[in-house]
Symmetry: C4
Subunit: 312 residues, 4 copies
């Protein structure tokens, strides 16, 4: 339950609701909302789903789809009758099905060795259709692969915690962020919204405030970037004690937008810090230094969470 | 025939014409305009057409193109003479054509079992060309598949109707919208234009007005968004009675633009509300609630059109 | 040689040079500049070249590349010796080369019937490499096809001529433009620069002026758009007579930018009007009308150049 | 060690650190920063890496991957036993492995001549899996090819050096840039930051300043563009002598952003000039002229570095 800094204007256009419980934004930046209603098939964009699937699950889905497709077609060929396929090893029914299965795979992938080949209209027709389907299937897989790896992403690493640190004559809330891959970001801009639970006429309600950092934009995002929100009379946290920071439901919702110069596209990443992720009385330690030959700068990404406790 | 709020300035840059009848924008957001003149081949972008084709029609077009291509090539091989293909089953002319057709399919898909194979220059030449065409065909299909599923779309569901509801001391026009898929929208912005038919010197003419909502932009588009246009002295609807709303040709033309964070692209969706889609004296019912464990919010998309009648 | 409207400020940021002769922008919107120096291979982006190639030339380039690749590989197989290929028809040297050529094509497209197949390490090695190259070749073709048809284009048709027409109490320069395909444009914006040859201290020099249309932006680009530049005291053409318009080297350089809602991308198109393309004393005729059932609007693209002469 | 122009405000949002040695931006525009920490696999985006690989290295990587894949699969088939493959030439163990290797290649590329073909479940299973992997591999290659050649790039050539030249009554820093390919750029905008090493309380520290060119934006980027920063009292270089320019650690960090009209995308390119790349007392020579028929302009890219020494 936060106390209210009456000088500060509530923000109306956050897009979040004031009356719902739970975290607004998950740590990974996804909204904490579940949707129901509408047909489940219409509620999911399968393409968005495939884009966000972890790599091994994605490959797994492709492999399973390949096996299932071949099992289905093998069953169809088997039902039609193996006399419509030349070159089948007929030593046992299992062997027969195995050969039919591999014939299906050779058709689906368009390898078509020809050791086994269809004769007669029915088997030939199914094979014609299967080869077509196989090519379309790999066309879709090509698109999914490209969609996945060309998807513009920011590849930003945020510090796990935010700190309340001494700053100038007072204090400031700080967290930091660095780009951890070999991409090339510029013109980075931050947007910070604070959701603070307040007691309004006896009811706990979340209020939203725009949080101003000392630096809202940087031209070159080459090193780490420490975001600093000075707690002065324009801050909703003005007058907060250590106790207030520990006992109030706070959520800092962060969005960083930058321009990826290699992709020539804007990228966005989000995260949030809740009360338990804000350390009162701490200071981040430097995370970069000069190289030994003094010719370049080393950015040590493992140090992004390094901080020391300080007295405020 | 609307009465005129003389304080309000007409909007010049709507891009629509004042003298044409019929709806300006269809419910699905497409302009209600037909084009003629210019060669019909130049008047359609076949790529735009393929992007907008429903899924099953798209697959159907591919299947039909595949069959037609094979029929054409089969006829060519047949005309050249089946003696230029080895392995043809010559038991009957129909059987011959069937085998030639499947040879064509095996070439077009590059399966190439080899049970049937071309001998001699002519058949080989056609097969060489067909395999090339087949690969280009599937290259185009790959591009179309990717174009279709990577196309940035907003996936927004608008309420079927707009309402005139009590608001503060007066009334407001409201409608609502929610993103219904697992995409992730932020920085949504709305643009509303009203087309109102007015009697100018005895002629009915459509006038266009920029409609200001109380909130033009939201940072996070996680829940539903209720757009509210307060009917005050700055509104073209100032002084409208229930009768005016029923008897005037009104069209609210809506455009929402948002940023899809997964695609990292701007998306746009349009719709419109005409006189018969505006309910006078109604209020929308809430469409989200907390989950049972109080940890997340449930957005019920089936409730987007739920409203109750109220007295104004 | 234009006379100078001394109230008007020259534009510095046109990016064109004041001292060069000839049209600045070609009718199709390309800059009228030739580049030399730098290695010719580095001076062309082959991808930009392929994107802009007319459709039939593009297909032609692919076909020729396919034939050349097969001729090269056929020659290699032939040089290695046809005894390393099974199934070759050895009735004559020509027939041998033909068979080798078709074997190459069957390998390049990965059809691989197997009637002809490599035996021995050398021919097998070349075939292994050829199949690899074939697949990469079609991978590139797939990318080029997709790049070509997914390229965001405005598909705008400009009137061939601009007119000087009566407008309010004076005159205005007008031209018009319409989108002629089934794309869906919104938020169109125009930028007009006039290059006027002026006599500065006895030397003819091009001066650049920003030309203000009465409407710089439209929300919905559904019909045609007539651009109107009123010739008042803020215009560089203020005080121009019919003779001035005919005897001065004028170039109106036009750029229109719009948002394609289907592609969700900005598109741009340029054109220019030079002195001989400006008709003094003419008025455009309407190019749209209501459908017979009064429910939609018909835009007749063939009428975009229809005008009648008027007295000014 | 620069002297300080006290009228000029330091820039806070450059995003570079004030205390690190070495060049900030490399000549090719990449940040001069090395990253360590985090798992090396997570520190690289392999897609960004592949996009930036020189063309021949990229092809080389594909070829090597193809050979390795076939060696692995050939070993597996060999381990399973060549009796599970029909048509193998068993004249010697080497010959056997060679044939198995080529069988693998024929499967991976889906050529599948069928001269060699799998019999029995084990070899067939491996072949089934290999064909699947081959197709996915070429799907990825297709995506990489497309990603590489569709990547929006500015194709700008900067002059190797910047000059301090006479300008109006004083001097100016100038450098120039031209687009050297057949792309089509417009709405180019420049951003220049100067990093100047200054003596602050006895310590050498880099200070950052926003550098204002006389023209920050051009509409049409058709010829070369000479950027001019006038050294007046608003410049951090105000009062600098030739000695100051030679003895101070200066870095001019340049970013140009433009709109590529063919790709319909924004493109960005960077470079920087350090002290040793700034020539005091020089003037660029013209690099374009009219064609002989006076109908077009010739831009000679080889002259971009041509300058003559002048006395200041």
């Amino acid at each position: 339950m936060g106390k209210r800094n009456l000088k500060i204007k509530e923000e109306k256009d956050s897009g979040f609701s004031t009356v719902v419980s739970g975290r607004f934004t998950n740590k990974d930046g996804r909204y904490n909302v579940k949707k129901k209603g509408i047909n489940i098939l219409n509620r999911y964009s399968w393409y968005h789903t495939f884009l966000l699937l972890p790599r091994f699950k994605f490959i797994g889905v492709l492999v399973i789809a390949y096996i299932i497709a071949n099992l289905i077609f093998a069953s169809i060929y088997y039902a039609i009758g193996i006399e419509h396929l030349t070159g089948i090893d007929k030593s046992s029914p299992v062997q027969e099905f195995v050969d039919v299965f591999f014939f299906s795979a050779q058709t689906f992938t368009t390898v078509g060795y020809g050791r086994i080949a269809p004769v007669g209209a029915l088997a030939s027709f199914v094979a014609t259709f299967e080869a077509f389907l196989g090519l379309l299937g790999f066309a879709i897989a090509t698109g999914l692969f490209y969609g996945r790896f060309s998807r513009p992403r920011a590849y930003l690493k945020f510090s796990e915690i935010a700190v309340v640190a001494p700053y100038e004559e007072g204090t400031a809330i700080m967290f930091r962020v660095a780009s951890y891959k070999n991409n090339m970001l510029s013109e980075a801009e931050v947007n910070i919204t604070a959701a603070i639970e307040e007691n309004i006429d006896g009811k706990l309600v979340s209020k939203f405030y725009q949080i101003e950092p000392t630096l809202k934009k940087i031209n070159s995002f080459s090193l780490n970037w420490t975001l600093v929100h000075k707690i002065d009379s324009n801050s909703p946290f003005y007058g907060y004690t250590e106790e207030d920071f520990k006992n109030t439901d706070i959520e800092l919702i962060i969005m960083i937008r930058a321009f990826d110069e290699i992709f020539a596209n804007n990228v966005v990443q989000r995260t949030s810090y809740i009360t338990s992720e804000i350390v009162y009385g701490a200071r981040f330690l430097p995370m970069y230094h000069s190289s030994e030959d003094n010719k370049t700068t080393i950015l040590d990404l493992d140090k992004i969470d390094d901080y020391q406790l300080v007295k405020i």
